[in-house]
Amino acid sequence: MSIDRVLSKLWVPALLLIVLVLLATFTRYASAYTVILVTSILMYVVLTVSWSIFSGPTGYISLASAAFFGVGIYTAALLGTKLPLPIVILIGGLASSCLAFLVGALTLRLKGTYFAIFTFGLVELIKHLLLWYEIRMTGTRGRFVIVVDNNTIYQVMLAIFVLLLLTAYLVRRSRWGLALKSIGENEQAAAHMGVNVTLVKVSTFALSAVFMGAAGAIMATRWTYIDPYIAFNYFLSFMPVLMAIFGGLGHSFGPILGAAVFAYLEEVLITRFPYYYMLLFGIILLVVIVYLPNGLMGLVQTWRTRRLERQHATA
């Protein structure tokens, strides 16, 4: 019985370790296409997990992911030729974080949907201002980004992913994570209990943006050409929300699972049905919201409880 228990506690970290080792040595044996595919999947996982660090426990739906991602992209476009890659990525992350800090400090009083609309408006505002600035001041619409080979992009993305997982885990297990959760359950009560609501919310929001900005900075090198429409694409604001809900927000593995499955699905749908891809995407979105409100992890859980019940029934 006790061995069972130890095993049941160990299998998750063990599995994680195996997956990480596989991912780290991936470029040695995988084909070029697979590396690119897994990089895209990792990008969505990074966006989704960083989104859920803040929005998961607090319940504030942020649609600003595309803004943070886009700031990273433009950092790479502006500084890519002047500074070494790791520093560009670091600056991308920090710049996004500064923006998130500012936005967070401004929007604290907004609740529920207002926060969602505000963050959505922010992406569009930045996009249109930038577009106007580029056309008016620089005379061009897009910019070229330095080219980095696919294996390096993959490794950087993997590094960001590992750091993010570690951060998400530490936040979740700390007093800070508990404070976030209490804000989600009842913000006023949390404030009365002595939680510095403002500080916790703004700092978490800024922290989550670091990874999105860093991911944007490295992904920009793969696209080589960018313009405001590519960099601040509102589709990327909705994908993390959808992927997190698809995987199941209540679980630590939900967002990872959701993003990985969904990103793979996206790739398959795009290559198989390029014309109907967005239509299928919409249908999946509706089906998930109506039939899977607790996501894939919720499905796994009901399945497990049912199995346990059956075991108890036979015993």
Binding site: G59, T107, G112, E124, L125, L279, G282, L286
Partner: protein
């Protein structure tokens, strides 16, 4: 002075359309609590249907108002009865319903938009109807745009009277204030919410029919109008129909002023106003 008049009238013409679109969304968001980001797709459907009816069957665009409106009403009513009612039943709290229904509306946006792209293709289309200039106090405007303004105001007023004077309108207003109490007072709440969603869709489609008379139309035109509608609804005050109507004209004027000085910044100005408003007075112009 003439420039000033020009800008003001252009703003009113634009504002009439914004007002109509926003009133529709105000019903869906203010009463039915669905932040319907797919609102613009109903506008697009109305516009493309009117275009097809005019260019294929030669049906007068103003007559199409009476076709597109009821058709969109039926579509909206059915969507609420099947989709949003289900989401409401499975959501534990109003906040969860708001976020889930917003995401579902995004799903609708993708579905409707891509179905329309399959049916109509990606081309930009337009037709010429009543496109002769009319002199308004020295400034020249297309007759079609003036007709558009007239119909926007007419539909808006008719709807306002319907809400203010009829029994059904009273039920809608009650549901907007407090759905639970309204339910206890004998209002069939699911029916009223579906009705509101249908009316919202109908107003969007009628606005789309009017838009197609003046501007080129295409399959992905919806999202921009939907975002403008959201801005106007927040500007006017959530759930306030007159607020949305006035807010539409305010935004139209702002748009035409900014477009006069710097056309590239019109949309940025809308978002700028929106963000400032959310920070300074989230309840809007007419909100309580």
């Amino acid at each position: 002075m003439l420039t000033f008049l020009n800008i003001a009238i252009a703003g009113l013409l634009l504002g009439g359309l914004y007002a109509l679109i926003a009133m529709g969304l105000s019903l869906q968001y203010g009463v039915a609590r669905v932040l319907n980001i797919s609102h613009g797709e109903f506008i697009m459907l109305g516009a493309l249907t009117t275009y097809t009816l005019y260019s294929v069957a030669g049906i007068n665009p103003l007559l199409s108002l009476a076709i597109a409106g009821p058709a969109a009403f039926a579509l909206g009513y059915i969507i609420h009865r099947t989709l949003f009612k289900r989401i409401a039943a499975s959501s534990e709290s109003p906040a969860i319903f708001e976020s889930n229904s917003m995401l579902a509306a995004f799903g609708l946006l993708f579905i409707i938009q891509n179905l329309a792209l399959i049916v109509w293709g990606p081309e930009t289309r337009g037709y010429s109807y009543l496109a002769f200039p009319v002199n308004v106090g020295g400034a020249l405007f297309g007759a079609n745009r003036l007709v558009t303004l007239g119909f926007s105001v007419l539909i808006g007023l008719a709807f306002y009277l319907f809400l203010a004077r009829t029994r059904m309108g009273k039920a809608i207003r009650a549901a907007a204030q407090d759905p639970e109490t309204a339910g206890l007072m004998g209002v069939n709440i699911n029916w009223v919410l579906a009705l509101c969603f249908g009316f919202g869709a109908a107003m969007a489609a009628m606005a789309g029919a009017l838009i197609s008379m003046c501007y080129p139309v295409h399959g992905v035109m919806g999202i921009e109008y939907a975002v403008i509608a959201i801005i106007v609804v927040v500007l006017g005050g959530l759930g306030s129909i007159p607020g949305s109507f006035i807010g539409g004209f305010v935004l139209g004027l702002v748009g035409s002023i900014v477009a006069y000085f710097e056309p590239g910044l019109t949309l940025a100005a809308y978002y700028g106003i929106f963000i400032l408003l959310l920070l300074a007075k989230p309840t809007g112009l007419m909100g309580k």
